[in-house]
């Protein structure tokens, strides 16, 4: 067999990928994630989850950039926000993306949850996917709450005073939860740095973890057919399908 010269694509794309695949298996992993089987009549409504993931990536990326210039200190927080908006190159855009992205994320979250509910996609065997999704929902709400204070203007301050006091009206644990959020019995400079830490370290860590579990379950269990699908499985079929993967 005559030796043929490798093409440019083989040299630049295939060979490095093969090298990586041989050592890590990453390429196969990504392929099995991206090219997995879905029902033939999968709907556009089932792209809301990946839209959410995209917006989360947007929030994480713009958030990291904003954190480079933000000061979580009562004396300079507002000034640093003004610096980001008015002085920094494209700072207004990055901040605007983060601000509007947060609203988009909450809207998509509700649509995604409504879609899951209407499709009955929370039923066996996807209960855990629903539960991890509910935990993600709570964490996104906590992100919205903690992020709102960081702007440190009058609206941010008083909205957070009200929000913390709403937490305080929870029975038994409420008063302690409110004090936990304020880092003490009254609003102080510790409150802002606590919210900052929760907003950019604690809760995002939780969200990353639960997105991983959530998506693991989605890939493992596959996508539900739409309610109008003629190919819709009933629960017995689902149990059989799960058995066959064991």
């Amino acid at each position: 067999m005559p030796r043929t010269r490798p093409t440019a694509k083989e040299l630049v794309v295939d060979a490095p990928l093969e090298w990586i695949e041989e050592r890590s298996g990453f390429v196969g992993l990504v392929e099995s994630f991206l090219f997995r089987k879905v029902p033939g009549d999968t709907s556009w409504l089932q792209t809301l989850g990946s839209s959410l993931l995209t917006v989360f990536m947007l929030q994480a990326t713009t958030g990291v950039i904003l954190a480079m210039s933000y000061h979580p200190d009562p004396a300079s927080a507002y000034e640093s926000i003004r610096y980001i908006t008015d002085q920094e190159t494209l700072g207004w855009l990055v901040r605007g993306m983060h601000k509007w992205g947060s609203s988009v994320m909450v809207i998509l979250l509700f649509l995604h949850m409504a879609r899951t509910y209407v499709f009955g996609a929370y039923k066996y065997p996807r209960e855990l996917t629903w539960v991890t999704g509910a935990i993600l929902f709570i964490m996104v709400m906590a992100m919205s709450f903690t992020g709102y204070l960081l702007v440190w203007d009058q609206r941010a301050y008083w909205a957070t005073v009200v929000g913390v006091n709403i937490n305080g009206t929870g029975p038994i644990v409420g008063p302690f939860l409110a004090n936990f959020l304020k880092a003490g019995p009254v609003f102080g400079d510790q409150t802002l740095s606590r919210f900052y830490s929760l907003h950019m370290l604690v809760i995002p860590g939780g969200i990353f973890t639960f997105i991983f579990i959530h998506m693991w379950l989605v890939v493992r269990l596959g996508v539900t057919s739409a309610p109008w699908s003629r190919k819709r499985y009933d629960e017995a079929d689902a149990r059989e399908a799960v058995e066959s993967t064991r």
Binding site: T169, P175, G184
Partner: protein, 218 residues
């Protein structure tokens, strides 16, 4: 260590140990193999190390929820600044002060409504709405909250809207220089009896007050 077929099995006891355990159920091998001991030890050590990290971190994060703030007596100037006001007008003077005297951040700034009751007696009503903590304003008819429409009479008792109890008050006294001094902040019930301070939205009397344990308040 030499590979034995048993190494690939789920229960990684060696054949010798398994045989010894089978031969004598009461033996040491049956109770505890080396493998099991090391597995248990690793889990216990991992748990211990996790606890060494997690316990102090959790305590440090939760501790502020149980800590009281230092309270100060605040001198708000000579009593002559607050003469009685005629009928038909708001009966209160707005006084702003720092609840922590050395604080320059503005975060400890508070607003209090001072009324001269005559005979060197004063009433000091806090401006924190007892719905969810917004600042209320004084009017001739009482107090009004801009956030969710809470309304109070001139004693700070709720007359409409969502607040659960009357406005908080400060202890007042007149010191030897003739200055009005604000003391401790305290909560009120509808019959204007004094109660231990609680956060906004938390009732201080009636059956619902049992749902709100006394977390430190400032």
């Amino acid at each position: 260590m030499a590979e034995t077929p048993a190494d690939n099995q789920e229960d990684r006891t060696t054949l010798g140990e398994a045989a010894a355990a089978a031969a004598n159920p009461g033996s040491a091998q049956a109770a505890m193999t080396r493998q099991k001991m090391l597995t248990g030890g690793t889990i216990a050590l991992g748990g211990l190390m996790s606890a060494i990290i997690a316990v102090p971190v959790t305590v440090a994060a939760l501790a502020p929820a149980f800590k009281k703030v230092k309270e100060y007596n605040i001198d708000i100037g000579p009593t002559s600044l607050y003469p009685p006001i005629g009928q038909g007008q708001a009966q209160f003077y707005d006084v702003t002060f720092e609840s922590k005297p050395d604080d320059t951040s503005g975060l400890s700034r508070r607003l209090v409504f001072i009324r001269n009751d005559g005979n060197n007696k004063f009433t000091a009503i806090s401006n924190t709405c007892m719905h969810l903590g917004c600042p209320v304003q004084a009017f001739p008819t009482g107090f009004s909250c801009p956030c969710h429409g809470g309304q109070y009479d001139t004693q700070g008792r709720r007359i409409a809207g969502p607040p659960v109890r009357p406005l908080n008050r400060y202890e007042t006294s007149v010191n030897e220089k003739g200055h009005l001094v604000l003391g401790q902040l305290y909560a009120m019930d509808d019959s204007l009896h004094r109660h231990q301070l609680k956060g906004p939205g938390q009732p201080v009397d009636g059956i619902l007050s049992y749902l709100y344990p006394d977390a430190p308040q400032g």
